[in-house]
Subunit: 346 residues, 2 copies
């Protein structure tokens, strides 16, 4: 059980003071290249890695980023085990970006709706002293959490939040995505395109619908209100909306669903009526969770860039902590469009 290597050992090995080693480690100024070299050699030779606990105690960074996710939502996703991959994607984007900069990302589950959110968050921060906090929906819009963070003077990023406010706002352009989804169908020759909205409680629902409308209008097509179904992101609401479309004298030949669940619901509805996709209905959904790859046919979907958004959040927070000024207070991350069989050969 060897004693761990500390900064002292490095200093002794290189024949300099603690302070000089510290300067080298932190890329500080005022060190002759020659000395710097010698210290680095000692570091390498001894396999020295600074203790982040000690660094933090010394008044420097903690090299920790705290990511807050909604407890119920996350656990429910895990329990179902159906591949809701928010957490996976966050890790992919956040962890890898953090690792790039010597940072670590710590996950924490918090009840948004509980009245002691503030206490939960405060406790996590007191224990960890993170250099920054990443908020995911629905925390991204929680005023209690945001106010606390502001009060604490801790840099934070709000992922997927469209409301203005302090902290870095990391989003995708939902309006543009709604337009891209619709354009894809228009390009395939469709003109009667249905749209199923998300819940009004989410600002992104309106944005996605706006994109649809813009795409239609730009091609000189009138907006037919009968082709706009009201959903709330649930499978059931998708089913209801699609069934209404089917009752129309002239049902849509293509559909944009505001999330995967509703897209799959629509597919199920037409299947139960003996219809198929893409022959009778081309479908584009939003989010691109794993499930849409396994439906028959697999669904074309707008890819929500969760990993990229989390990576961007991490990058900004790390730069903020490093003292970097003039950082954008909002970043729009490009979305993707995964084309699959539900929109092939129109």
């Amino acid at each position: 059980m060897r004693r761990p290597v500390t900064i002292k050992h490095v200093a002794a090995e290189a024949g300099v003071s603690l302070q000089t080693v510290s300067r080298v480690i932190n890329n500080g100024p005022n060190v002759r290249p020659e000395v710097r070299e010698r210290v680095n050699e000692a570091v390498a030779k001894l396999g020295y890695v600074p203790s982040i606990a000690a660094q933090r105690m010394g008044g420097s960074r903690s090299w920790l980023l705290l990511a807050l996710n909604d407890r119920d939502r996350t656990i429910e996703g895990w329990r179902l085990g159906e591949g809701t991959d928010w957490v996976d994607k966050m890790l992919m984007g956040g962890m890898l970006e953090c690792a790039e900069h010597g940072y670590r990302m710590i996950f924490e589950l918090v009840d948004t709706h509980s009245n002691h959110v503030e206490r939960e968050v405060r406790a996590a921060i007191s224990a960890l002293h993170p250099d920054g906090v990443i908020l995911t929906p629905p925390h991204s819009d929680n005023p209690l959490i945001i106010d606390l963070l502001v009060q604490l003077g801790l840099p934070f990023a709000r992922i997927g939040s469209v409301v203005d406010g302090p902290g870095f706002a990391i989003t995708m352009d939902d309006r543009a995505a709604g337009k891209a989804a619709t354009d894809h169908l228009l390009d395939l020759g469709h003109t009667r395109i249905g749209f199923i909205t998300g819940s009004d409680e989410w600002a992104i629902s309106g944005a996605r619908l706006d994109g649809y409308k813009q795409a239609m209008t730009e091609r000189g097509l009138a907006i037919d209100e009968a082709l706009i179904g009201r959903g709330d992101f649930s499978f059931e609401s998708g089913t209801a909306a699609m069934e209404a479309f089917c009752e129309l004298a002239e049902p849509p030949t293509a559909l944009v669903a505001s999330n995967d669940q509703m897209g799959l619901a629509a597919l199920r509805v037409i299947n139960s009526r003996g219809l198929k996709s893409p022959e009778n209905l081309a479908i584009v959904s939003f989010d691109d969770t794993p499930i849409v790859k396994f439906s028959h046919p697999p669904l074309t979907a707008i890819v929500q860039p969760i990993a990229a958004m989390t990576a961007e959040a991490s990058r900004l927070l790390i730069r903020a902590k490093a003292g970097d000024a003039d950082l954008p207070d909002a970043v729009v991350v490009p979305f993707g469009l995964a084309i699959r069989d539900s929109t092939r050969r129109a």
Copy 2:
């Protein structure tokens, strides 16, 4: 930006010394109930939460558990986005268990095959000073990592490792699972049951096969070597094995596949021959990753208890750090059997 609350503030508030507060926080002895009460009130009033960095500096626990996953495997899983949910399940089991005890779990990706594994692991440990380390396959059997941990005197758990060695070995009973899968098919009335093995490089492959053989033998059925196909966990190997079965004069009416990929491959093979499951072939696969829920039909599968194993690992490490003696050095976690349409109505 309020100054954070430290142990000093609590001490002042309660009118006692730092040490007494420390004792209360750590449930130490030698504190009058009355004083303890007073301190707790001060803690609650001030919303005090100890800094784990400072606790660790003071020579106590770091309240951190380090979980090591294979870099390539993990990233590949994320990249594909097909819901390989090892990480998700680990978080679910590990994080929740850790939270229960005031611990945090930090994830780290490490290249098993790299020749600087040791350096990578050592660096993570030096930086974090975790109280314990959780190893997942293939790290669980990596002698470089294991030796390092032993040398460091750090408690660690090896998940899914069947080889003997130091550290806590957390496993599921793969032999029993192989038997349970086979028994399930036997109970349905099948007698010609095929088996596709995993790669010989994994000890679990042999265990699963043994379970199959035992189940067959116990029912007085002979082991037909022609019904044992050699696979290596890949989709392709599953395809090859199933195709060989189909060429038999008397093909199997049921199948146990040593993982989901090969189970899905078998399903694909029979579908391409105009056959269906479960009518022509009842299928049970191993692992129960999300994808088997979305095949047609969904596959019955042995559920690998990843969350439970990680939770158990966390529990043991935390207890070990707490000084708990007589802990088991091996724990077998019960597996599950998720029955789905691929084995209904035989």
